[in-house]
């Protein structure tokens, strides 16, 4: 008769992994736009070059592992990694830096562990940390945002030339410490004075940074709306960061850690909250687990930012918590219907 023999369920929902990834890519647009608006085309070039190299590395790895290349490239996961890394790197990073980053992310952090879904660490963040440790100079050189200086931003051509290094010295790019750096270095000025003194501060945090963060927040809200992930991890991360910064704000003395709003809209906060912490592969799996996971990341971000050695801390915090995710999972198994939580965990696990 020739009827299919398949087991239930026969119906399937509309969601597919490729669609999830496409939505994530789509959601980066507002943030990317802000970054480009304020820091020039450097970030776009980063993202572009990272995408090309990431796809190439992915294809290479799949070929070496004898997997169907087209099938796996179609899940868009390499592109997501490339986008996140490209956004996280300083605009106009040199091409080799980006390439080392994507190579490390795709080959070592992802494919070596068995490909998508098997990686214990977020590839983009692992690569970011590796680059930060290996090339601290390149990794902390940021362009000055528009409005903080008198000159022009990098145009697309200049950005390309800057990235690939030909005629780099002819491009007149102005760099500046990021607001988080400034805050870190500050030990004599009141927060308010610091705001006055430094050109890179804007309304709430740094010029450009606040908008980039708002952009990523918008993207995150969109993803929440599309039910790509649940609110638990991002919200608890933002909440714990807010709580800690409010606790240690002390009204803005020279020893202050900065206001909650400053922290929420600085550095990689929103990118981290909605695009990194929500990375399903490397986070805790249950909702309760995700609450804990997100909250601890928020705490770590604040600690490292204010008392640690690195100005921004999203990548470090996420990596640290990637380690902890399996433990969190172990202790946050949800209560199954008809079971008592005690019985479920006691003795059995």
């Amino acid at each position: 008769m020739g009827f299919l023999k398949v087991s239930s369920p026969h119906a399937h929902g509309p969601m597919s992994t490729a669609r999830v990834m496409r939505l994530v890519l789509l959601a980066t647009i507002p943030g990317l736009f802000s970054l480009t608006w304020f820091f020039g085309f450097g970030t776009l070039v980063n993202v572009l070059w990272a995408s090309i190299t990431a796809l190439a590395f992915e294809a290479l790895a799949l070929k070496l592992r004898k997997r169907p290349i087209a099938f796996y490239l179609n899940d868009y996961s390499a592109l997501v990694t490339a986008f996140l890394l490209g956004i996280a790197l300083p605009p106009g990073s040199p091409f080799w830096l980006i390439m080392i980053g994507t190579g490390f992310a795709i080959l070592i952090c992802k494919q070596l562990y068995g490909g998508m879904g098997y990686n214990p660490f977020n590839p983009a963040m692992a690569a970011y940390v590796m680059l930060l440790i290996s090339f601290p100079v390149q990794m902390t050189t940021w362009f000055a945002p528009q409005g903080s200086f008198a000159g022009d931003l990098l145009g697309p051509i200049d950005a390309l030339r800057y990235c690939f290094g030909f005629g780099r010295d002819t491009v007149d790019a102005i760099t500046m410490a990021t607001p988080l750096d400034v805050l870190k270095q500050n030990n004599s000025l009141l927060i308010e004075d610091m705001w006055q003194e430094s050109a890179q501060f804007g309304q709430f945090s740094g010029i450009g940074w606040e908008w980039a963060n708002i952009g990523f927040l918008l993207g995150g809200i969109y993803l929440l709306y599309r039910r790509v992930f649940t609110w638990h991890a991002p919200l608890s991360m933002l909440a714990s960061l807010t709580l800690l910064s409010a606790l240690f704000y002390d009204g803005g003395s020279s020893a202050s850690g900065g206001s909650p709003l400053f922290h929420l809209l600085s550095g990689g906060t929103m990118l981290g909250a909605f695009f990194i912490v929500t990375d399903p592969v490397t986070s805790a799996v249950s909702n309760r687990g995700r609450l804990i996971y997100g909250a601890l990341i928020g705490v770590l971000i604040y600690i490292i930012r204010v008392w640690g050695n690195y100005p921004d801390a999203v990548a470090f915090s996420v990596l640290l918590m990637n380690f902890a995710a399996p433990f969190i999972d172990h202790y946050t198994q949800p209560r199954t219907y008809g079971h008592k939580l005690k019985d479920q965990q006691g003795g059995k696990s």
């Binding site: 008769m1 023999k5 026969h10 992994t17 949800p334 219907y337």
Partner: protein
């Protein structure tokens, strides 16, 4: 408004219900042939009570329930029995099973049947029995015999009776249309159920809010009855029994428990109407409402279908277009299974046949890697972590799977539905469940074989020891003989006679009295004769049986493994076969062990005494027999043994029942096997109880001396011996000697026979026998001399 609870997770698949609701229920008519599987329910298959060629009438019982968890089958229309044979039945594996095939005659002639005028006058037991006799099994899909669910225990008072009208699966509208058109019957059925169950709080009918017409009709019909129609938001799988209970009452059925544990009984509304018809009109369950739908059908429709109607017949009626259809589903798109053959019949549980087009339900795309997005965990109504279970299933980490409550998974398919990577999660869980069950069975088996090995080793050692003892005894006997010969040479003839008399006297003294000797003789006879051979034969026979069964088990396992490898759905069937074979094997082993146990004590004491003095040996043997064999002699022993057996069987029954309920909750495919297990255990238990009763009856009878003689050979022998003693006391000396001679001659003759037999068999007892024969002859000579 009453409070509605929410269940965790759940999904909202496209409902696709309107297509089949355009027209009222249509009678599907009488197909030329009906195929009625004997197992249309969970539990033991019914057993046919008609023969091929019999004419049957509509409503006539054609197969009777086999055991408690079972349901009879009735003829859905009049006709003749065409065959009782294996046919393809609706089952995920596409397997065949025994069916009764009826060639219909179109007359649709009813058997005389009668309803109950006033059911409130009948006791609960009578009503439940009527429901049982009507063959009603849960019509919502699982097919659990309704009567079983209604046999609630008095120590578990029921608070809430729930009728399930949720019908949360997409496409299916059988319950919806039933509510619209036959609301009064549902309510009438609910009232009967309420009368039977007597819930002390409330009777509820749960319906999802996507059936406004059905709800309106039900509400109208329920006016003034106190039955409450509870409407709640549509969400799959609200219709699962446990989920519905949670939604309506906020209670959770404890894991491994039954709804009655939290004071709830749940029945499907279709079942309620069937119960109504059975009680009110005396009509057994012979038809049901089935939805035929899907875009490959031109006219989706709900039919009133005679059980046994082939699916093809219904598809034809609905304008089925095979071109566009690549899968045919029995049930809904979430939990239904695919059919390979359109000849399969509609059975008591068939609520829907779904014939979708390719575009409607496209073949599943290849699965991608799990991205741990957690959407599956979000969707799971049981709050499991499907993604974790998936990783563990792939890694075959069974322990972790069980710790993650794999066996609480109701296989609703919500997780697979939402999984963006298209991972067939449920398939993994089914496979893992089967593997774990298999592993458990293997473990039990290996433990058994270990026991068996140890028993064997012990037996071999014992045999070795016995041989050793025999050899030593023989040597001693030879020495004694030599000594006797030397003595004989020295003493005079009179001395010899004297000695013989002495010895014979001594022997008599030793054995207390002739009665004892008689016992000994009687026992010796028993030991030496037929009995001696047959235990060995029995052992051999049992061992042979055992070997055969083991071989079969291995073959079955191989088949099972193969099936599992190929992910064949037959795996279930094979698993059942394996477990059955194992059961058989276990019972043979048990028998063997029991047999060996009776054998062993009888053997040990006997040989050591054999050589020294036949009379003593005989006594010893007799005593050993009494002590060891137990069964015949010591009635107390038998009683305790039987009681023990009953106790263990009962324990086993409880365990089996637990397993069964567990399996039922999980809608497990093995439910059938478990049910059979329960049945069998029950049967065994009954048999044991009966034996005990019989035994106790004979025990009572034994108290009267007369009975003893005929009942118990040993007792009889004692009686005879006593009689002999009395007779002997009255005899003269000469008579005594004469009698002695006679009996000696007898014994010699028998001894010779035995000896010959032993020699022929090459038995190492031959020597001993020869020995004792020589002694007997000596005695005879002495006695004869004495006489003369």
């Amino acid at each position: 408004m009453r409070k509605i609870w929410d269940i965790h997770g759940g999904i909202h698949p496209a409902e696709n219900k309107h297509q089949s609701l355009l027209n009222p229920i249509e009678n599907a008519g009488i197909p030329a042939q009906l195929i009625l599987p004997l197992a249309q329910h969970i539990g033991a298959p019914a057993s046919p009570i008609v023969n091929v060629g019999d004419r049957v009438l509509k409503g006539q019982m054609i197969a009777e329930a086999k055991g408690f968890v079972s349901a009879p089958v009735h003829a859905p229309t009049s006709g003749t029995i065409a065959a009782i044979e294996s046919r393809v039945i609706p089952h995920p594996s596409g397997m065949t099973a025994s069916c009764i095939v009826i060639d219909t005659d179109g007359k649709d002639e009813w058997i005389t049947h009668q309803g109950v005028k006033d059911y409130t006058q009948l006791s609960k037991l009578e009503l439940v029995d009527r429901i049982r006799q009507a063959g009603i099994a849960g019509m919502g899909g699982a097919g659990f015999p309704a009567a079983v669910k209604l046999s609630t225990r008095d120590d578990k008072p029921i608070e809430t009776l729930i009728l399930n009208g949720t019908e949360c699966e997409p496409y299916i509208t059988a319950d919806d249309i039933l509510m619209r058109e036959r609301a009064a019957e549902i309510i009438a059925g609910a009232e009967i159920l309420r009368h039977i169950i007597k819930p002390n709080k409330e009777t509820l009918i749960g319906v999802e809010d996507n059936k406004p017409e059905g709800i309106a009709a039900l509400k109208k019909a329920a006016e003034g009855t106190g039955i409450e129609i509870v409407v709640f938001p549509t969400k799959y799988p609200s219709g699962g029994e446990k989920q519905l209970i949670q939604i309506l009452t906020g209670k959770e059925v404890p894991a491994g428990g039954l709804p009655s544990d939290v004071g709830i009984v749940c029945q499907n509304i279709g079942t309620a109407t069937a119960i109504y018809r059975a009680i009110q009109f005396g009509e057994p369950l012979i038809s049901r409402i089935t939805t035929i739908t899907g875009e490959a059908c031109e006219r989706p429709q709900n039919y009133e279908v005679l059980l046994g109607t082939p699916v093809q017949y219904l598809l034809n009626k609905s304008g089925f277009n095979k071109e566009n259809c690549i899968r045919l589903i029995m049930g809904g798109p979430m939990m239904g299974y695919t059919l390979q053959d359109t000849a399969v019949p509609i059975v008591k549980t068939s609520n829907c046949v779904l014939a979708p087009t390719v575009a409607e339900l496209p073949p599943p795309p290849p699965a991608q890697a799990c991205i741990r997005c957690g959407m599956c965990a979000e969707a799971c109504p049981v709050s499991l972590l499907p993604q974790q279970m998936y990783w563990f299933a792939r890694a075959q980490e069974h322990e972790k799977l069980e710790n993650h409550q794999l066996f609480d998974c109701i296989e609703c398919g919500a997780c697979s539905f939402v999984c963006p990577s298209n991972i067939p999660l449920v398939q993994y869980y089914r496979a893992s469940k089967a593997e774990i069950r298999q592993a458990q069975q293997d473990k039990i088996k290996s433990e058994r074989s270990k026991e068996r090995f140890e028993a064997r080793t012990a037996r071999l050692e014992q045999e070795e020891a016995e041989k050793e003892a025999k050899r030593a005894a023989r040597m001693e006997a030879a020495k004694a003989k030599a000594a006797a010969a030397a003595n004989a040479a020295e003493t005079s003839k009179t001395d010899i006679i004297q000695a013989a008399i002495e010895r014979s006297k001594a022997k008599q003294a030793e054995s207390a009295d002739p009665a004892q000797a008689a016992i000994a003789r009687a026992q010796a006879k028993r030991d030496g004769g037929a009995e001696e051979e047959s235990p060995q034969e029995k052992t051999e026979r049992l061992q042979k049986l055992l070997a055969g069964a083991e071989k079969r088990l291995v073959a079955a396992k191989e088949k099972l493994a193969l099936a599992q490898e190929q992910q064949s759905d037959n795996a279930d069937a094979f698993a059942t076969a394996v477990s059955k074979t194992e059961e058989k094997l276990a019972s043979i082993k048990q028998e063997l062990a029991a047999h060996e146990a009776t054998l062993a004590p009888a053997k040990t004491p006997a040989p050591s005494t054999d050589s020294t003095d036949p009379a003593q040996a005989a006594i010893a043997r007799a005593l050993a027999k009494r002590a060891g064999a137990g069964a015949d002699e010591s009635t107390e022993d038998k009683t305790t043994r039987l009681q023990n057996a009953i106790a263990t069987t009962e324990k086993r029954l409880v365990a089996a029942q637990q397993k069964l309920t567990l399996a039922q909750e999980q809608n497990d495919a093995n439910v059938g096997a478990f049910a059979t297990g329960v049945e069998k255990t029950q049967a065994k238990l009954d048999a044991a109880k009966k034996e005990l009763a019989d035994h106790q009856a004979t025990l009572g009878a034994n108290d009267t001396a007369e009975q003893v003689a005929s009942d118990d050979p040993v007792q009889a022998a004692i009686e005879r011996a006593k009689a002999a003693r009395e007779a002997q006391a009255n005899m003269s000396e000469a008579d005594k000697i004469k009698q002695n001679i006679e009996s000696l001659e007898n014994r010699i003759a028998k001894s010779k026979e035995k000896l010959e037999a032993a020699r022929a068999a090459g038995d190492d007892k031959a020597d001993i026998l020869a020995d004792s024969l020589a002694k007997l002859e000596e005695k005879l000579a002495a006695a004869q001399q004495q006489l003369s």
